[in-house]
């Protein structure tokens, strides 16, 4: 793939239902009441049950790897800053733009690039999460020379 600063990454969208939050909780084992119970979330000042940090990190990963493909490898997700609640009952949109491209070798000294992406999560007019992620992508035509162990 060819990558340049300013390239758009995503977006990906998901409707975040309470049912989805319960499903995510069962998968990531974060059973904090505020993530699966609207009443508990409201008691803490949120308008509804809201996603946890693991969901946020997972959606950053999804965005980066669905864009960069299976040969890519995440180097870093962060810093991720939580400004507001990612609440259920609304669409979640995750999107980014490339802010830096740096030559870097991957496993087995395979040539490639570290691509840094500025990422935001938006819900309607709100932007509850902002952050960055860096993913290594192989240079075009570079062959893998060694297995990752």
């Amino acid at each position: 793939m060819t990558v340049a600063v300013g390239d758009t990454v995503g977006p990906l969208r998901m409707f975040l239902s309470l049912q989805r939050l319960v499903m995510v909780s069962g998968a990531n084992r974060d059973f904090a009441p505020t993530h699966i119970d609207n009443e508990a979330a409201r008691a803490g000042g949120a308008p509804a049950a809201y996603a946890d940090i693991m969901f946020v990190i997972s959606m950053f990963e999804r965005l980066l790897l669905e864009w960069a493909g299976p040969a890519a490898r995440p180097r870093r997700i962060g810093p991720v800053r939580l400004h507001d609640f990612v609440v259920c009952g609304e669409d979640v949109t995750v999107a980014g733009s490339v802010v830096a491209v740096t030559a870097a070798t991957g496993d087995g000294r395979r040539p490639g690039f570290d691509v840094e992406v500025e990422i935001g999560i938006t819900q309607a007019e709100r932007r509850p999460v902002s952050g960055r992620g860096t993913v290594w992508v192989p240079a075009q035509g570079s062959a893998r020379s060694q297995r990752i162990t």
Binding site: M14, T34, R75, G78, L82
Partner: protein, 178 residues
Amino acid sequence: MSELLDRLPGPDGGAVVVARTVGAEEISTAAIRRYVEAHEMTSPLHSDEAAARAEGYESLIAPWSMLLTAAMPAYWEPGGEPLRPGFLPPYMWTRLGLPGSEMVTASVDIEFLEPLRVGDRITTTYTIVRTTPKATRVGDGRYVDFALEFHRQDGRLVAVERTSIYCYTPFAAEGEHR
């Protein structure tokens, strides 16, 4: 709580290891499948062995973000006290008796070094690297900066995390748990 407070590094740093935990479960294909399903992750590396091998991995790998789930200790084990309604995830920052009645995650930063494989079990070392007193719009408290190291069972460092938690006593009752 006061003992911990006495040991906490101030704004100029001076790291203190405060806890070491072991993930409740080895990474399994079943756990990977549930995680992928819940987040609708499309990468073939989590479900297609041939695709994973073609990219140089020994076998299937877990989603990278599944690290935090793999590192989470058990909520309850035989012999433990019954869980009370409203129980929280067993992250150490909920169990260290940090100052203040509320805590919010201010920022998270994870560097991934090695993929998570089926059978891996993760040990986490929690270090407090800095605390910074701060009054904010929600209350009076302090930022507590953690550095976490995640090792797999063979001792290999698989990831590091830097997390800043704001622990505070609210001016008005509001707060968010991680």
